[in-house]
Symmetry: C5
Subunit: 166 residues, 5 copies
């Protein structure tokens, strides 16, 4: 499903993350959307994502993927919140989309509180790959998203589907 | 109750939602306000609504409906909060209204915590349809809203009415 | 105590509120400050107040009253928070004051959690009327406020007064 | 310790506060920094401080002191948070400092929850007076602050000092 | 590992902190990146960091380190949150990076709640020194960060490493 017009996507991830999220995004983009141009950056932590995305969007990119991993402690959630506010600012200042792709370790913990690493990896891959498609569609093929409106799409887990009138 | 002057309304919903909220809004607008022009967009999740609304408002739209569904987990509430802050920014930057139409799954859960799907659908329809009217009135017929000031209007549920002096 | 120079005040309230707060504000302004010009608007809910105030302040108003009622549920408090952030943005963007006049239903509940309607009405009236004066003073008579600095003024309830050195 | 160059400081306090914080600030500035020019304003509550500071900073002031008292209820903390976000905006928009001097009643409560008035007054005085110096130094004598870097300074209470390597 | 091109870094710390964080940052920069130019500022508390960073970035600096210490009380966390939002604004307004280097006393408390001072000092040093490198790399050697993407880097504690597919 190649994109209709030429698109430049910024891919920004972190050194904090335990998964190379940028590499997954680039793999998916190259495989499924070979004509998309990619500019990759890595920043220390997720609070640094917003301004890096803004820099890319003010320069050459049409859209950016902000890829971050959120730790298990409550302070991590507060920091993710600040990072998200920053990402909203980046979008507003550039009038372009940034898809925030955050994976929370708490999404893949066992009952004893330990991280289920293989589940976490699968979740991360699925979320990054699906949002790579969303990014291309938003810029070059927005009707793809309208077709999917209200269909309960999930990134990271299986789609939940629509609630139908009975 | 047709609107007085020509209005262009942006209708933005998500693929995340389990209800096609955009379709409901468009149905109501076409039925009750046939002269209104509609531009529809769909984005992945509710955090993407703000900048899409801003893009529409900076271009052709007089007002936008930001239609989103919020899941049941606490993290969903935090994300909705970030989405709302973004929507405030979109309004401020464009000096135009965006009506935030969010439905929270927690508004229609049974005592056992499960979702009451038919109640949730009814709630969503009612909220979207009523806010479609609010959007048209805000732009073309603001005196309609002044008439309703302080009358305890609700979208999604029945109006609660005014508190009267005894 | 008429105001010294000509002032235009925006009065913005909501259809959500169960009390016609705009009418109270206008009544007080007309009675106590008959030379003040008033522009009234009504929006659906309190999240819509900020941009309406900004629109008035960018146009003809010197100051605005943002009149909102906050429900009893925790989600109502979060929404009020978002509305307040928006109001801060409106002030910053216009470099003018917006007096946020929010009444929380939780301020007038009986021990059994039910709303004490007459107490709530009295509270709302008192808060709106006193802030109507504050609005006029801020624009036309700021020394009135300096005279009252640190005097424990309250809107809605009785003043608490100053803490004096013993 | 007179300031090196001419400085204009905005002093903004509230009618809500039970202590005349503006008077304390002005007293300290006149006594310790007699060449500093002062512009004083009073606003109703602490949510009104940000835009008043911005107005002063956009006009004649080099820096402002935002003086506010925070009540004991949880809602007061949320409001203080909104006021603080506004103050951050004021600084960013003007590229000048605003020193936020907030005293929380919860800082001076007895075990039974009642306010210890004399402790609260002492705390308020100490915080306001010390921040009056900080304001002057930030603008006219920033090396004074570099000398104190990492020294555990407190306003309101005694300094806690540095943690030294053993 | 000297930086490739000339860089000016702003180093901003506080008088509130009990550790001279600015001195540590400057020591690391001089030792490891001797050609980097440094401009140092100290402000009273961490809420003052954002605008000071913005002032430096609007003037001569390519990037800034915002160095702050966060106390143990819940109110300290809320204040840190406001400071962080301000720092996001500073980045967005200047389109440059600010590395937020905050140390929370709660990161180094013993089971009895008391501060483990030597652990806290070690944590602070490690975090400041590592982020000094990140700052230089972000501006002059961004490929250094891409090489480290997804490698679970930590500042203050040991790196946690990558999660590998098995």
């Amino acid at each position: 499903m190649p994109s209709k017009k030429s698109v430049t996507i910024g891919v920004v991830d972190t050194t904090f993350s335990s998964v190379n999220m940028g590499r997954i995004a680039i793999d998916e983009l190259k495989k499924s959307h070979p004509r998309v141009r990619i500019i990759r950056r890595t920043v220390p932590g997720f609070k640094d994502l917003a301004v890096e995305c803004q820099r890319l969007l003010k320069n050459k990119c049409d859209i950016a993927l902000a890829l971050g991993m959120v730790g298990k402690a409550p302070i991590d959630s507060q920091c993710a919140h600040e990072a998200s506010i920053g990402i909203q600012m980046a979008k507003m200042n550039t009038n372009k989309h940034v898809i925030e792709v955050f994976v929370h370790m708490n999404e893949a913990v066992r009952k004893d509180g330990s991280l289920d690493e293989s589940d976490f990896l699968a979740l991360t891959e699925d979320r990054v790959r699906k949002h790579a498609h969303n990014a291309v569609w938003l810029v070059s093929n927005p009707e793809k998203l309208v077709e999917r409106a209200g269909s309960g799409r999930r990134q990271g887990r299986k789609d939940v589907g629509s609630i139908e009138k009975r």
